[in-house]
């Protein structure tokens, strides 16, 4: 192999290593945050306003790759205590979406570090999406509202495809708002039963 061929390979190897390290660090931070008792995070946030508290917990949850950690149970308990489920759901969803925005940034940075076949697959998906642009926003609202899966995969994938930030985040935020309001109402009517399951 010529020296001209080795240099780009090394450069690509370094890029893949740094992307793998970034993803590994993201997952490690997620596991660390998910392992903390929610009460310690609440102490760390220190807010006395329940809606600010839920916004902060939602944002921490959005930073991590695990769905809803650590805010689900806190959201339901606050709704069961008599606070507005709608306001709790909206403030939590806004926090989650702000946290998920970091994944958009990560996605846009790691695209060029992907193996060639994955990069080709991403481009292929982008071409398919470009053929049906009107289907994407309703699909994102639906995903945010009903999917128990993390938003991170969707946000990162769309970021890699080059889909616009606002077109990704706004529909997901709308869906997530509905999801969190529903979760708050679930807490209002069934918190004791849910805690008993555990």
């Amino acid at each position: 192999m010529t020296a001209e061929g080795i240099a780009p390979r090394r450069k690509r190897g370094r890029k893949i290593t740094s992307a793998a390290m970034a993803i590994g660090a993201y997952i490690a931070i997620s596991i660390a945050v998910a392992s903390f008792p929610a009460e310690d995070l609440i102490d760390a946030v220190g807010a006395t306003n329940a809606y600010v508290l839920m916004f902060s917990l939602g944002m921490i949850g959005g930073f991590t790759t695990f769905t809803g950690i650590p805010y689900h149970l806190v959201l339901m308990s606050l709704a069961a205590s008599g606070l507005s489920p709608v306001a709790l759901g909206v403030s939590t969803a806004m926090g989650v979406m702000l946290g998920d925005s970091t994944m958009y940034l990560v996605g846009s940075k790691v695209k060029s570090s992907m193996p060639p076949r994955i990069e080709a697959t991403i481009e292929h998906l982008a071409e398919r999406m470009a053929r049906h642009p009107r289907l994407v926003p309703p699909a994102l609202v639906t995903y945010g509202a009903v999917s128990p899966f993390s938003n991170d995969f969707v946000v990162a994938s769309l970021s890699m495809i080059g889909y616009s930030y606002w077109r990704t985040i706004l529909p997901l935020a709308m869906g997530n708002t509905l999801y969190n309001i529903a979760l708050a109402y679930l807490g209002l009517y069934a918190y004791d039963a849910i805690v008993d399951w555990f």
Binding site: L73, G82, R117, T121, F149, F153, V195
Partner: protein
């Protein structure tokens, strides 16, 4: 110039994506289970009465729980639980005792009241 790489099929891409998302969702449930399994429980609501040994807290459905505050309880937003007044909103972490009272481990005041 290297030949352009062939993309994975759409079905395979969706299957792998769903598998990754599902495995992360299962991991999330595991952590949620760990959080909920702790030996402490959470109670939040409106203070309706304050006594020498504790407070009574009412939830959204009107259920009232007698809460005892031991000396070593961690209090946030107040120096003593006796400072609490009816109508204030609190969030408590603690355990339910055999006699049905709720013993405080940590208690904090919240600035919002319940929705009327």
């Amino acid at each position: 110039m290297s030949p352009k790489a062939k993309p994975y099929s759409l079905g395979r891409t969706i299957a792998v994506g769903l598998a990754i998302a599902a495995s992360f969702a299962i991991l999330s449930l595991f952590f949620l289970y760990l959080q909920a399994r702790g030996n402490l429980q959470r109670l939040a609501g409106e203070v309706v009465a304050v006594s020498q040994v504790g407070v009574s807290v009412q939830n959204a459905r009107g259920d009232i729980t007698a809460v005892t505050v031991p000396l070593d309880a961690e209090l946030h937003g107040m120096a003593s639980f006796r400072e609490l007044e009816p109508g204030q909103h609190v969030m408590i972490r603690g355990r339910i005792l055999d006699d049905g009272t709720f013993e405080v481990d940590r208690m904090r005041t919240l600035t919002e009241g319940p929705v009327r």
